[in-house]
């Protein structure tokens, strides 16, 4: 699905990603963990094409295409979705209008027919059930006045509507209460298929009880320093990142 090779990226001249290598196959779930400021969100933003980050080296192949050459909206059309760590508010634009516009652009790019308002609304309501969101959110302005948890849930709703091939969830679990965490996770699991893949960025092993990863990676200081199975997350939870730093020092 996606192959990241020796990816280096900087922001304002400061190098944040220092050679990331990561391959995710269709049907897989990968978790990325790591201390604050290690570059997890940067990786997510670079994959989505945020203009503030400059890629200085490396390449990313997504479904056989060179992802880094594509405009952000073209990446979205190709099936890349990012659930933002900090979802953005768009005053005056209703959630449904926004999502319908996005979905129809994506459909158009694939040569599919656009959905009319009736068809879209019907579909939206179905998807809202998956994340147990109140229908009142249909007409509220995008993320405006939403609580932290509601924003995160709204991200998953968007993912459910847009049905991406590769979903990158950046700390979607932070700010969620226990019930919401279960709902959101089960939403993610329901959308899982052998044809799509998910990268979850998280600080907490707790989420991985619900969304079970195939591989866990540890990102420290712009590099993936360790990868392993689900057990790695437990180890981190128990010992923090120090033991990895120690391992790194020993090997250095």
């Amino acid at each position: 699905m996606i192959e990241i090779k020796n990816l280096h990226a900087s922001v304002n001249g400061k190098e944040i990603l220092k050679g990331i290598n990561l391959t995710v196959k269709a049907g897989e779930i990968h978790a990325i963990m790591g201390p604050n400021g290690s570059g997890k969100s940067t990786l997510a933003q670079v994959l989505a094409g945020h203009p503030a980050y400059q890629v200085t080296q490396g390449e990313v192949i997504f479904e056989g295409q060179n992802l880094l050459d594509m405009e952000p909206e073209v990446r979205a059309h190709a099936g890349v979705f990012l659930a933002f760590q900090y979802p953005v508010e768009i005053p005056g634009v209703s959630n449904s209008y926004f999502l319908k516009a996005g979905l129809n652009e994506i459909r158009k790019s694939r040569g599919e027919e656009e959905l009319d308002s009736m068809q879209f609304l019907k579909m939206l309501k179905e998807k809202m059930k998956i994340v147990e969101m109140d229908p009142s959110f249909i007409n509220r302005p995008v993320n405006e006045g939403f609580s932290g948890g509601e924003k995160k849930r709204n991200e998953i709703l968007q993912m459910a509507v847009l049905e991406p091939k590769l979903a990158i969830l950046d700390e979607t679990d932070s700010g969620l209460d226990i019930d919401a965490l279960k709902i959101v996770s089960s939403g993610v699991n329901k959308l899982k298929s052998p044809k799509n893949a998910t990268i979850v960025v998280t600080h907490y092993q707790r989420l991985l009880n619900y969304i079970v990863p195939d591989v866990v990676h540890v990102l420290v200081n712009g590099r993936i320093v360790k990868s392993g199975g689900k057990g790695l997350a437990m180890e981190l939870e128990a010992n923090g990142y120090d033991f990895i730093r120690e391992e790194m020092q020993q090997s250095a």
Partner: protein
């Protein structure tokens, strides 16, 4: 990214063509004779000629206001021609007699003057340079007792009504530009909705400046008698020319007991080119008077054009329980300057006013909101709510807000909210991540920002206005 923002804001003006038609234009210059000539050409009664002359004499003693936050080259009032009309302008008995070139001009602007073809149910008065060339649906309206005609025609056929109301809201000496207009006004629209009648269709005037070196000075007078209702739309365009052209209009609205007047404008005069060359200087006095109890006047404006805009549609809330509203979206781009806002003058008891102003600045545009809320001593239990939001696109534009508030009794209240935001790279990126391209993202964000104003426009007009907003900002973000 700001580079791309800048690119998006510059898109061509598509109404910039010129119509080649023979005109009857008086030479540039302004003096009492010119005022007399205009009055004579229009075959006006003596009282009106005198009124014009009084205005002219007063104007000569006045000074052009310097307080607005606007920068423009000094206007040479002697270099402007004060009257221009397509030649051979007679009274047309039917639209078939109107010069096909004129009909074609309006068709190009998207306005069909051929009544049969107009399914939308909007009656139109088309003003070309100094004169009204056609008014549609007149007969249908006349059956209800509604008068909708050009101002010149009203002077001939309904002189008493004109005499009674002309200058009753905006006196000829009100301000510099109103005095100029009163002296040299050429044409405009007149509407009269008699007692108890709800006007069955939107009334609309379309103003077009065509001739070069001319000013356009139109006058609109709308009177709604007791219990009457009317919704009036105004649209405007002008050819692209390198020199600036002056537009100084006066609009007066009068609402008697329980009457309601809704006045909507989509102003798209030529704004000049990227470097600020050419464009219309728009100095307009618009004011409504809620003369009767429970009357209501609301202004909705979408201002995207003109090089310079100076405009404060206001409401005098004289009748008890009367309501005044002002909803505005003003967009400036490139080198445009706008100083616009409103005045709400509360005189009657329990009067209420609402002001919603949305200013959008892009390019090197400079957008100023200037508003006055005055609640008088006797206007007990009155209320005003003001919301003033500014949005900036790019780093070279500016927005200013000057709200003036005067409350002279203790039972009234005034609420003011203001905000300034920048269209964010993050907002655009968020939209793009969901598959929406930059242009559509900006248009979506801007329309969301201006939504409260658009929802007050008649349906068709709202769609038009949203498109216009998208166009006038294209090239500003990316």
């Amino acid at each position: 990214m700001s580079e791309t923002i800048e690119e998006l804001v510059s898109q061509e003006y598509k109404y910039g063509f010129t119509t080649n038609i023979e005109t009857d234009t008086i030479p540039p210059g302004l003096n009492e004779d010119v005022v007399r000539i205009i009055s004579k050409k229009k075959n006006e009664p003596e009282w009106l000629t005198d009124w014009r002359l009084k205005a002219f004499r007063l104007w000569k003693t006045m000074e052009e206001p310097r307080w607005p936050n606007l920068q423009y080259a000094k206007i040479d009032y002697q270099s402007i021609s004060y009257y221009s009309a397509p030649k051979e302008m007679k009274k047309y008995n039917s639209l078939d007699e109107v010069d096909p070139i004129l009909l074609e001009t309006y068709a190009k602007l998207g306005i069909s003057l051929t009544e049969q073809k107009r399914l939308s149910g909007v009656a139109v008065d088309a003003v070309f340079d100094s004169v009204s060339v056609a008014t549609t649906f007149k007969e249908t309206l006349r059956e209800k007792g509604i008068i909708f005609c050009s101002f010149s025609e009203a002077v001939q056929e309904h002189p008493d009504l004109v005499k009674k109301y002309l200058g009753s809201v905006v006196p000829y000496g009100d301000n510099y530009f109103a005095a100029l207009n009163s002296a040299v006004f050429s044409d405009g629209s007149f509407c009269f909705i008699p007692r108890g009648v709800r006007c069955p269709m939107e009334l609309s005037t379309y103003f077009r400046i065509n001739a070069s070196n001319t000013g356009q000075f139109e006058r609109t007078l709308i009177v709604a008698e007791e219990g009457a209702y009317v919704s009036y739309l105004e649209g405007c365009t002008a050819p692209m020319r390198d020199e600036n052209q002056l537009h100084a209009a006066v609009v007066e609205l009068i609402a008697l007991d329980n009457a309601e007047v809704k006045y909507s404008t989509v102003q798209n005069w030529y704004a000049g080119d990227k470097n600020g060359k050419g464009g219309i200087y728009n100095f307009v006095t618009k004011r409504g008077k809620c003369l009767g109890e429970n009357s209501k006047i609301s202004w909705t404006q979408v201002e995207t054009g003109s090089a310079i805009t100076w405009k404060y549609p206001s409401v005098i809330l004289q009748g008890d329980n009367s309501i005044g509203e002002f909803y505005s979206v003003a967009v400036v781009n490139n080198r445009q300057d706008a100083d616009t806002g409103t005045k709400m003058l509360h005189i009657g008891k329990n009067t209420r006013s609402t002001i919603v102003s949305k200013g959008i600045s892009a390019g090197r545009g400079n957008n100023t909101y200037r508003g006055l809320v005055n609640i008088g001593k006797h206007a007990t239990n009155s209320r005003n709510y003001t919301q003033c939001d500014s949005m900036l696109i790019g780093n070279q534009c500016s927005a200013n807000t000057f709200p003036y508030i005067e409350v002279k009794n203790s039972s009234s209240s005034v609420e003011h909210e203001a905000s300034t935001s920048k269209i964010g790279e993050d907002q655009i990126f968020y939209c793009k991540q969901r598959g929406i391209n930059t242009e559509n993202a900006i248009s979506m964000i801007i329309n969301g920002f201006a939504k409260e104003v658009f929802k007050n426009l008649p349906m068709e007009f709202a769609v038009e206005a949203q498109k216009l907003l998208g166009i006038s900002l294209e090239g500003s973000v990316g």
